[in-house]
Symmetry: C2
Subunit: 334 residues, 2 copies
DNA sequence: ATGAAAGCGCTAACAA
DNA sequence: TTGTTAGCGCTTTCAT
């Protein structure tokens, strides 16, 4: 009972092994009679085609490699769930590799990915060396970076419009009447973190304002420490833009519970992502929404297109996103 | 450059194709000289063994199927991350399938899993029909249910000691002086939900107390609605035990922001899981900790043992867990 | 439309 | 220790 092969089905159905194969191969031809007989025999035997054998021949494993780093930021599990669902609908599945952001680790992980003959790779929240990108390109395996950009033209990426988003936050905070800004940035090793910062600082610079910036490393503790440092100065900021929601929660926790300050009365806080928790009353965080569904759909479409049409050029897609105003900032709920 | 085979490496190294295979097969023998030559040639060509081909022969795909339902409850992404890491260390990878909890869906998903010749299956937060368990057993594929139990003896499971946990909460709340209890339970279709409830209600029954119970379905909205219903009665409870943290947050949100009540002054709230968010100041939730690391390690060990030693009997492991007292309950921080 | 035959890239006897 | 040979379970020509 261990393993039912197409040959066994063939015998039982009284047809050739190739006939069985045809019945289970999407684009193949078989007479209604044959299909009927084979399906019946297969049913009785509990036969299902062996994907590994199929993959070996066709080169199509129907597996997409997904490389992720942090799953503690709610944004990623959510993305992952939707990615998995979207891909599943298209008959693909994801082979998950976890990697921290060290070069060697990502490198190793990607190599292993290639061993599995994945048809495509999605990286979420991890960077790639150019060497690695080159290797994937050479192996003919399309890669899409999710929520991370990359210089050079060998990889596709899907992000939100982070520079514009950073600007939007600056403009909003300016309009709220703030003048003393700080930015606890996303990790500066990530394009996402850099872009948000440059948008924010750029818009502020136009008003002759230079905010204090501390790298929060996408980390709660680092963000909390940064908050302390910022607020314990003689002239603390009255508005903090934080590189993502995950850190913004830590900032608010530190502000309220650690420092005894009120948000937004003493300090306004703005995050980035709009994860579900941002909308819960405990935080009620004003934040730039990352339209996760559209980002996921775009990622899947981009990847599958390149799988089906390998000549399709790589592309960098930025998705516009709105500022969601809540009660961690004051005023202006227009 | 597309695909480098062992044959090409063999030619370049001036050895037979099987020699190459041996060099890359863990338990094989080759002279230092051969190894050297082959490694060099492989390096130059960028050769790596094709896992699919290897899997087809050995029957060892080094892939573990992971079936998950909800990724919005922080507990699961965390478990998944650790599971993935632990398995990766052992040279396995996880193929992820998302399933909602409907029978058909799980069924379909599991069948697909079998197509991929996975060596084992871990289910997290999903139930399995007996038919399905039987099929996996017949296919010789070990299954471990993570955080879910199952009657019958064909599947292993790893859970925390949920009945004892429920009891512990009841005893604690009793000791705090509460007398008017409610329980917003985990989904009654899950063993976890049922066990926690029965432990809680059992302990209370011994004191002649019968709490109100509403099924929260592991859902925020359902939990919020239940909270409203409970508190709008003429004699509302002064202590609510919630089936997991994820719902407990919704309960606290509803209590504080919706109903204007204070926690724990007006109502005490206890959760289950101890996800990171429970420790954040915004909730500071008293909760039964699920020792996620130990649960994961146990799951991995159990699964790998059965893979290596198929005759190992299935087992149901319950892991003891402590009550973590925080400020969503009053008193007794002994 | 169907069967026979040739592999896909690899491992595992089997000799040598 | 090595090379030779036979498949793993399947898809895909190629004839028929």
């Amino acid at each position: 009972m261990e393993k039912v092969t197409s040959l066994q089905v063939a015998k039982r159905a009284g047809v050739s092994q190739s006939a069985v194969s045809r019945v289970f191969t999407p684009g193949a031809s078989a007479s209604a009679k044959t299909v009927e007989k084979v399906r019946k025999a297969a049913e009785e035997l509990g036969y299902r085609p062996n994907m590994m054998a199929r993959a070996m021949i066709t080169g199509k494993s129907r597996i997409i490699g997904l490389v992720v780093a942090y799953l503690d930021n709610q944004f990623y599990p959510l993305a992952m769930e939707r990615l998995s669902n979207a891909l599943q609908e298209q008959g693909y599945h994801i082979l998950v590799f976890t990697a921290d952001n060290s070069r060697d680790n990502v490198e190793e992980v990607m190599k292993e990915l290639l061993d599995y003959q994945v048809e495509g790779i999605i990286t979420a929240s991890v960077g790639m060396s150019n060497d690695l990108t080159a290797r994937c390109a050479a192996a003919g395996i399309p890669v899409v970076m999710f929520n991370r950009g990359q210089d050079g033209n060998d990889v596709s990426s899907v992000t939100s419009a982070n520079v514009a988003g950073g600007r939007r936050v600056a403009e909003f905070l300016l309009a709220c009447g703030h003048r003393n800004f700080a930015h606890i940035s996303g990790w500066q090793g990530s394009s996402t973190g850099r872009d948000r910062q440059s948008g924010f600082c750029g818009a502020l610079a136009e008003q002759g304002i230079v905010p204090q910036v501390i790298d929060g490393m996408y980390d709660r503790d680092a963000a909390a420490a940064a908050t302390r440092k910022l607020m314990l100065q003689t002239e603390p900021p009255d508005a903090i833009f934080v590189g993502n929601d995950h850190m913004a929660f830590a900032v608010m926790d530190t502000l309220r519970s650690g420092l005894g300050l009120r948000v937004p009365d003493d300090v306004a806080v703005v995050g980035y992502d709009d994860v579900p928790l941002a909308a819960w009353p405990a935080y009620d965080l004003t934040t730039m929404r990352q339209p996760i569904n559209r980002m996921v759909d775009t990622t899947v479409t981009t990847l599958l297109t390149r799988i089906d049409e390998p000549t399709t050029p790589t592309c960098r897609i930025e998705i516009e996103s709105p500022l969601i105003q809540r009660r961690s900032t004051r005023g202006l709920l227009k």
